[in-house]
């Protein structure tokens, strides 16, 4: 019961941020069991969210759910569209048999355009039993889109909590590789280890051998790793 009350409070807070039209749309969508149970209708509603919320976003509605990054600073504010999509995904799972959760979320991710994919990735850590979605999250790291990669790599507690070591390390290395600051990788300090240090050191060596500059993040990661490794 307390979860239900909390959900209701969270919904009320979210709805209060929206302009009247968007508020009606979201309330109706969340209350429409047939829509939530229909793969096609849900996909349409999920895709529409950016346009349905455009006026609220323009009006400056923001929400704040902060994570603290490596530098101890606060991550940027949560995006309103992402917050609404996260709520939609929560409702979707609540109306779908558990055995279908992974398939539904994967299909939504696979068929999504960039911001829809971001919405899925930013929601993962907040969904029930999030460890079920680790394959989807690892696959997302193979994207060529920096926006999508950033959604899983930056300010997102999911990888540090759920990724096996290989994939967490690959995520850190790819961040350095594509120039997304490692400062915003949540949980880097907790997950950094000897193998990550080796990978990053070899990357620096490869850059040097090629006569190229070594990104600052290399030293940043090595410092984090060495503070944990007694050697």
């Amino acid at each position: 019961l307390s979860t239900l009350i909390n959900d209701q409070v969270a919904d009320d807070a979210l709805l209060a941020m929206l302009d009247p039209q968007a508020r009606t749309w979201l309330a109706q969508t969340l209350g429409d069991a047939a829509l939530l149970g229909s793969e096609t209708r849900f996909r349409v509603a999920y895709a529409q969210a950016t346009r349905k919320l455009a006026r609220s976003v323009d009006a400056g509605a923001t929400t704040r759910e902060q994570t603290v990054d490596l530098a101890g600073t606060n991550a940027p504010e949560d995006d309103l569209v992402e917050r609404v999509r996260r709520r939609l995904l929560g409702a979707l799972l609540a109306h779908t048999p558990a055995a279908e959760h992974e398939a539904r979320l994967s299909s939504l991710y696979r068929s999504g355009e960039q911001r829809e994919q971001v919405g899925v990735l930013r929601a993962l850590a907040h969904l029930e039993r999030p460890e079920r979605f680790v394959t989807l999250a690892i696959e997302a790291c193979r994207t060529n889109s920096l926006v999508v990669f950033g959604a899983i790599a930056h300010d997102n507690p999911y990888p540090a909590t759920h990724f096996p070591e290989l994939h967490f390390n690959q995520l850190v290395l790819k961040s350095i590789f594509v120039g997304l600051s490692v400062v915003r990788i949540v949980g880097l300090r907790e997950r950094a280890g000897v193998e990550l240090a080796r990978m990053v050191r070899e990357y620096a060596s490869e850059r040097s051998a090629a006569g190229r500059s070594v990104p600052e993040d290399v030293q940043r990661v090595l410092t984090v790793c060495s503070s944990l490794d007694p050697r």
Binding site: R110, E139, R142, S145, L166, M199, E202, E206, A210, G211
Partner: protein, 291 residues
């Protein structure tokens, strides 16, 4: 001098590129099957892609006097999707038997996952069954370790190193690749991988035996003229003409000829009146017809 670009993804390039490549002396190319910048989610997308490499793309190249060959394979990135990987592996035996398929590739490691290794091993076995050499991609991240692991997989399977072209080398990987007896490919890129100047230094240090260069041009920022540009810089840097010819023609020819399907006898005569399934590369231009 005739030039060979043994690794270029022409499906994402324009006819302007073909024209420029022919003008700069590129007479033959190999287009490896790779990914398309975002993951395919159906096995059928792979099949259509394989067919376009064999069909429309070979025709487009011929319209500019360039010999087009290809390699077929499941790339390491998409090997991680178990839903498509199994289906693509089933398709491959059909496509590996096509004329003009001169290797299995690009295969190899990306993140170095267990799924990638399984698909790599399966395709090395396919190469053996179909008597083809292999074109091996090495990872962008953790490259040195990835290259070491690739070479140890080849050794474990007793795969003949002479039939393996290990690609995308740099200063830190070439020695182990050459020492293993494999061919060493180098992708000359505008900003990442390898550049012309560094390639000259590598040739000066390691010589030209089993050394290959390519543009690896694709849908990203890349340059389909990197083979001629690197050949020119090698020449200006005092590398012998015979060594340049070995690197830019003889080596890729010798490697892919091991397939028994690298037919270079008659250079295609340009006849732009030709049609492919009713389609022309021209849009109202006067067809070029070489006598």
């Amino acid at each position: 001098m005739r030039l060979f670009d043994p690794h270029i993804h022409m499906t994402s390039r324009t006819t302007d590129d073909y024209e420029a490549m022919a003008r700069e002396g590129i007479a033959a190319i190999v287009e490896p099957a790779f990914w398309l910048g975002q993951p395919r989610t159906h096995v059928g997308s792979f099949e259509d892609y394989f067919l376009s490499l064999l069909g429309w793309e070979r025709f487009r190249a011929s319209q500019f006097g360039i010999r087009h060959f290809c390699t077929m394979g499941l790339n390491p990135k998409e090997a991680n999707d178990s839903k498509v990987a199994a289906g693509v592996l089933e398709l491959l035996p059909l496509y590996l038997e096509k004329d003009g398929v001169v290797a299995v590739g690009e295969i190899g490691y990306d993140d170095m996952t267990a799924a990638e290794e399984k698909v790599l091993v399966a395709q090395l076995e396919l190469a053996r069954e179909h008597a083809l050499p292999v074109l091996i991609h090495t990872p962008h991240r953790d490259k040195k370790r990835g290259t070491e692991r690739t070479l140890s997989v080849l050794a474990d399977l007793a795969f003949p190193p002479a039939l393996a072209l290990v690609d995308h080398n740099n200063e830190e990987t070439i020695r182990q690749v050459l020492d293993a007896g494999c061919w060493a490919g180098h992708s000359i890129y505008p900003a990442t991988k390898m550049d012309e100047r560094r390639m000259v230094d590598i040739v000066k240090q390691f010589g030209h035996e089993r050394v290959i260069i390519n543009s690896a041009a694709d849908w990203g920022v890349s340059d389909p003229l990197k083979v001629p540009k690197t050949a020119k810089l090698m020449r200006e840097s005092g590398i012998a003409e015979s060594a340049i010819e070995t690197i830019c023609w003889d080596n890729p020819v010798a490697f892919f000829a091991q397939s028994g399907r690298l037919d270079l006898d008659d250079a295609p005569k340009v006849d732009q009146r030709a049609l492919f399934e009713g389609n022309s590369v021209l849009r109202g231009q006067t067809p070029r017809v070489d006598g």
